[in-house]
């Protein structure tokens, strides 16, 4: 039995590859239950939030696995950056706070970044 558990643990460890710490670069993004933008949102992540990121072999390209508090889910690579970006809500904190965004606003901000079709005419490839 112990051997089976050890084998499963080793198998899991080899399947999840730790990539490193990344930062959320969009104003708000969703932590998804699965590696797809159509899956349920577990929580909303704010710009500048740091995340420990793993890559699962079974996940489609562009999706990373992470843990945020009690939630374990997926976030799309296009929403992440290796270094902390200058976030609007930090740069203009007083202005941003004065807007009193409610949960619905934050949810829709995150959905907006799920729904955008994005491309960058400089990179030579699509972001999504």
């Amino acid at each position: 039995m112990k051997l089976i558990i050890l084998f499963v643990c080793i198998l899991n460890a080899s399947e999840n590859k730790y990539i490193g710490t990344f930062f959320v670069k969009e104003i708000f993004v969703h932590l998804h239950q699965g590696p797809s933008k159509s899956t349920t949102s577990l929580t909303t992540l704010s710009c500048g939030q740091s995340l420990r990121i793993w890559e699962k072999k079974s996940d489609p390209k562009g999706w990373f696995y992470t843990k945020v508090g009690v939630y374990k889910g997926h976030v799309h690579v296009s929403h992440l950056s290796l270094k902390k970006e200058k976030c609007f809500q930090e740069k203009y904190e007083k202005f941003f706070n004065s807007l009193n965004l409610d949960l619905s606003d934050m949810y829709y901000f995150g959905r907006l970044y799920d729904r955008y079709i994005q491309t960058n005419s400089n990179l030579g490839k699509s972001i999504n």
């Binding site: 203009y92 007083k94 807007l99 606003d105 829709y108 959905r111 907006l112 960058n120 005419s121």
Partner: protein, 254 residues
Amino acid sequence: MFLLLIICNLVFGSIGKILDHDMVPIVKKNEKFDIFPLEKDFWTFMSEYWLVKSAVELQWDFQRPDYGLEEKVFNIFQKFGIFQKNIKLLIINSSSIPHIPLPGNYNESIFILSLPFIRTLDLSKNEIALLILADYYRSKLNFLKSYVRDDKLKSMFGRSDEEIKIDKKLITQIHKRYDEFIFSKGATFQEQFKFTKTFSDLLKSSDKDWNMYFNLLKKIDVLVKNNMDFKDYLRLYPSPEMQLRWMINDRKKN
């Protein structure tokens, strides 16, 4: 134990002093940030905030297939020498806005495109990409931005004085001006002429694209004359029929 407490106090006491000494200027530095955003940082946020507030009306949060538009849009932007632009395209499931560019920051462009509009016209990916390119040139002429950017807003950009109060009414007013332009006022004939002339001139370098845009306008002209779902198109972009004439006249001159 007592000795350990003394050592802890000495170590953490000095750390505390260092923190006190170093943290105070950091907090003060933060206070120097502009209270109202600089214009260069303002437009993407405001347009996206407007989209967030209009989510239900515009119906952009819906499940749709992947149309694979990124490559076509990227290619046409490259073809016409537009680089270093982050292009954000939002497909809406409503015919209330057929297509429109929203003001964005310097290196960003936000576009809205109606799914019922592209389906009814049966547009190809190349035609959609050309429509996005047209909207990019429309955004460069700043029709919507100029309408929203009134004197009060202009005076607010980058304000950092402590006395200013950010009134939520101001944001509501800005969104109201977005609504007014998009749902009521639209582009004027002069603005439409200016855009058509600019875009027609640009397309002269490619007969294929000029003809494609000309045929696209023909399709739109037929649509708005026959389909009541798109009657509001003319309020936003007056007379595709006139646009066709302007394009022909422009071509004849050259």
